[in-house]
Symmetry: C2
């Protein structure tokens, strides 16, 4: 059975050393996030993840969710208790607004915690994960009354949330959605239609479920400009705010999926269900985007989290499984064979994952910190810069970290040889679970288009300039640092490839938009590699400094960082050149064929 | 539900135009393989695959195999009838020795047929696939008596075969195997031990199962030099050659796997089962290698075959699913949205797969033809050259085509968006089935080591020289051909990268074998890319010639080839440079960490 240990030491390195969180203690909520407090919180989160959530991961996959004839859904054995331990522990509201029962701690800390719980049990983590997205949407776009009615219940985890976008005939293209909303005359609406792929859409973990539903008000314009967002609670809150009348929304079926079996993916049928408008009429997409951006970071985190737990199990297996001898002579002569971790090709797989995970964690937390700055900084300039970077890099986090997360889960499974293919060892589940993260919340191709078509040209390319200036500033500042050159030189080359690709896009993407589309996925990965390279350079700087200061007790930790940073530069970053070559080849060869020729 | 159409036109192009099979009609068996005959055989194989085998693929996955209390195993509904249609159609023995009931047709033709039946139903195709491997091993290493006793029954498909290598504590490292063989005094042996991961190990498709089992004769040397190969039939043939007494081999359990659910992966317990030595004592590995090499080509074919069927379904979905508008303006203005095949990023995924599949098919058949030359040519020189190339490229076929096959199945699933994650659409099954091909018959890392550590240095590097001379000869001959330069120039660059990598290996791999291990997977993929590039250049030459000759009715076929060839050169071949950079970075960064630091 697979195991998991939360990488607390590594998270602390990123938060304290790399991001230097203490520097931000003028931001609200950060004053409470002292190093001791952070360590205590991460320690508790690790305990919950390792001891309560992880042991249910495999049994949850095997058992799955069950829909009963009355439309109710039962989650796997133990899930309710594990969810209660989470909500009673106050984990749902770690970073929520204190005015509505939240603890107001930094979002970056919540992100660190989320990684652990997702690694431990991704399917279970989706129930609170979607709730946090719904909280964010109501927090930003809801009326005061709505906030007072829903947020305290959701922040405690007594109620959960969902997001309802997809319909059978439309996913990416929400302009085609048909679910309709008819005014009831009392300020509420009657919502009718069918939504599919609704994660956590029906279950037995919470006393109420707050559905956030996109629908079209009667007479609204066609396309995306006629979509509004509604709150449709499963039970309509009564005068005291408790669950009252059952609303007209039912789970018609749950999907049989490749993975995340323990999360109920529902078809939800709305039959004149009572809903309340969130924000303005016909501005539903904007409101939903708050939730989607939050969700996209959460999905990126899923890529990282599954990659991490898969890696840990592969590393352990590689240390224990004996098979064959080292190419340079026996390393365990007392045994019948050497542990397979002596083989370079096994290490190649492990190092690839390790190098992506540790930089991915830094990237994730670096971006989450931007989120805190956006919402809490007093400085308009800081807020704008952080908002630019977060907007630019959210699709990269979602698209790149989930592509890599899946690839890494597959590689970790490969380390197990034939045993990796047997469900019992749990590696198959990691692969099956990780697969969905590349698809939902906007398939990765859609993320790439968002990056190239929307985020890049926005404000005359300001966000990208900010990003490149920051990276170039860092490499420039270390130009004469001999110890850093092994990291900064490859990074500088990668930035040049990104600049070259951007230039090519500017010259060719306007002329023919298909050139931008054809370049988009490669561009997203190119930018992701540059970002991870930047993270490695930042980490290397801190580890070199720590070693110079003689941090003896942690020397091996920092030496490991430097070796992994070097591996990343030598073995992963060269991929940037292939991305650039592909981008510069343009759209012609890919658009040449008629649809029928495929 | 997924569909499948055997790519007969494409196979015929490779066999007739690219390989010019008629040129080989002096080889035995080839005289019958006239173009008409080939087309008729492929047409029949297509029918069997599309109409009989494919409709059972998804139901077979859902139902899986069932082991009963007595150790017997039932295959899914319809499998017995579909298997009978195959064996009664004479498909098992297409290329087998006519002396033992085979039809003696070219192996290259059998390979073409195998692709279709694997695409249609991979789990079912494994039952005859393993039988063909067992036939090959007995054909080469069995005694006359053994051949007469077993081959006619196996060639008709009345009996099937298996290969038994793996034990719980040893897979790759067969030197550790413990299954023992004690002489019975009558020429037979009593075989005892446990074998795991035995595909098609027990089932209800055939009246007898011929297990080929590796075991250690009492008193044999330790390690791989003390391993012998035995025939252990499930039912011992009686005097008339019919199944007699039940032998002491039983299925202890079947594995719950990620995919290929309809193939029974068995734990087989041998309890003094009667077995007969195949070939010489202690030379079992050599005998088993005949089977393994055949199996490795078959597994490479699985990579191609699943990639092909997944591609077909993705292309169809992309033509039908409407969502969003083309970046260059509506393409289907009469509809609410354009089919998603208008989007460059969707085409990118499809073109990647198409470009790998069509070259992979050529590579597969090109190599299979070498197999025919090895066994049937009168010319010693031709035989040696073919044997060199086949030995060199078998690990590349297995390792590269299965890595790509899985990657392609994942990409095809991605085209379906959220629907791809739902089991109903069948894309998940392709991914889950394709996954095993990277693992069994020697995990892909082992293939890479076989290539770099064994095949490359063999005979002073003769095989690689032969290969590179052939490719350089082709590009050289077309140096002044303006129309070919778009294909030959990138290919020439890729060959240079391969030469550079080889040089680096020669200089650094001897000095430190870990450098060879660290380079192996990248080297395997680099060589695979060069080979696929060579196949595209060969195909482009034929398509250009056909268009020049004014092959009007097939113009769009050949134009499609040229566009796809160009796509391969521009979008896939640049990867060679990243492989070279990684290879040249050496082993240092990957060997730096202690095992405990992972």
């Amino acid at each position: 059975m697979p195991t998991y240990r939360a990488p607390v030491e590594d998270t602390l390195f990123v938060l304290n050393d790399v991001l230097n969180l203490q520097r931000y203690n003028n931001l609200s909520g950060f004053e409470d996030a002292t190093p001791d407090m952070i360590e205590a919180i991460l320690g508790e989160a690790a305990k919950l993840s390792e001891e309560v959530w992880q042991p249910l991961n495999q049994s949850g996959d095997q058992e799955g969710c069950t829909r009963h004839e009355d439309g109710s859904v039962t989650t796997p054995k133990g899930f309710k208790e594990a969810y209660d331990a989470y909500s009673e522990g106050g984990w749902m509201s770690l970073a929520s607004d204190p005015e509505y029962g939240g603890q107001g701690l930094p979002y970056v800390l919540q992100s660190a915690v989320s990684e652990y719980i997702i690694s431990a049990n991704m399917a279970l983590a989706m129930y609170p994960g979607l709730t946090q997205g719904a909280i964010a949407a109501i927090q930003v776009h809801g009326s005061d009354e709505q906030k007072q009615k829903y947020l305290p219940k959701m922040n405690t985890g007594i109620w959960t949330g969902t997001m309802n976008l997809t319909e059978p005939h439309c996913g990416t293209d929400l302009g085609m959605l048909r679910t309709k909303a008819v005014p009831n005359g009392d300020g509420s609406y009657a919502i009718s239609g069918q939504k599919i792929f609704i994660s956590a859409g029906e279950h037995d973990l919470s006393e109420n479920i707050v559905h956030l539903v996109l629908a079209r008000i009667e007479g609204a314009p066609e396309g995306t400009k006629g979509i509004s967002l509604f709150i449709v609670p499963k039970f309509i809150p009564d005068a005291d705010g408790n669950p009252g009348e059952r609303n007209g929304v039912t789970c018609g079926s749950i999907e049989e999926k490749m993975g995340i079996h323990a999360n109920a993916t529902c078809v939800l049928n709305y039959d004149e269900a009572t809903g309340w408008l969130v924000g303005e009429e016909n501005r539903g997409l904007a409101a939903m985007f708050v939730m989607m951006n939050e969700a996209r970071l959460g999905v990126g985190l899923q890529g990282l989290a599954i990659s991490e737990v898969a890696y840990q199990n592969a590393a352990e297996y590689a240390r224990e499984r004996i098979q064959g001898r080292s190419l340079t002579g026996p390393k365990a002569p007392d045994k019948k064979a050497d542990p397979i971790i002596v083989h370079p090709d096994v290490r190649r797989m492990l190092m690839n994952i390790k190098a992506i995970n540790e930089a991915g964690r830094a990237f994730m937390l670096w971006t989450a910190l931007k989120g805190d700055i956006v919402h809490r900084s007093q400085s308009q300039e800081d807020r704008q810069k952080a908002d630019d970077l977060m907007g630019l890099l959210t699709p990269v986090i979602k698209g790149m970290l989930t592509d890599k997360g899946f690839e890494n889960a597959v590689a970790a499974q490969q380390v197990f040889g034939g045993h990796g293919y047997i469900e019992e060892h749990g590696m198959s589940q990691f692969v099956r679970d990780a697969r969905i993260a590349m698809i939902y919340e906007g398939a990765n191709g859609v993320q790439a288009l968002d990056l190239v078509g929307r985020k890049l040209p926005k404000d005359g390319g300001r966000a990208l300039r900010t990003f490149i200036e920051e990276v170039n500033g860092f490499t420039g500042a270390h130009r004469d640092n001999e110890k850093m050159v092994v990291y900064t030189k490859p990074l500088r080359n990668a930035v040049k490839a990104l600049e070259g690709a951007t230039m090519w896009l500017m010259q060719n993407g306007m002329k023919n938009p298909d050139n931008a589309g054809a370049a988009s996925t490669d561009y997203m990965h190119l930018m992701g590699l540059v970002t991870l390279g930047y993270m490695w350079a930042l980490m290397a700087e801190k580890s070199l400094a720590a070693l110079d200061e003689g941090a003896n007790c942690k020397a091996s930790f920092h030496e490991g960082k430097l070796a992994t940073a070097r591996y990343f530069m030598e073995r992963i970053l060269p991929e940037t050149q292939a991305h650039l070559a592909r981008i510069e080849s343009g759209a012609e060869s890919m658009m040449a064929l008629d649809a029928e020729a495929f």
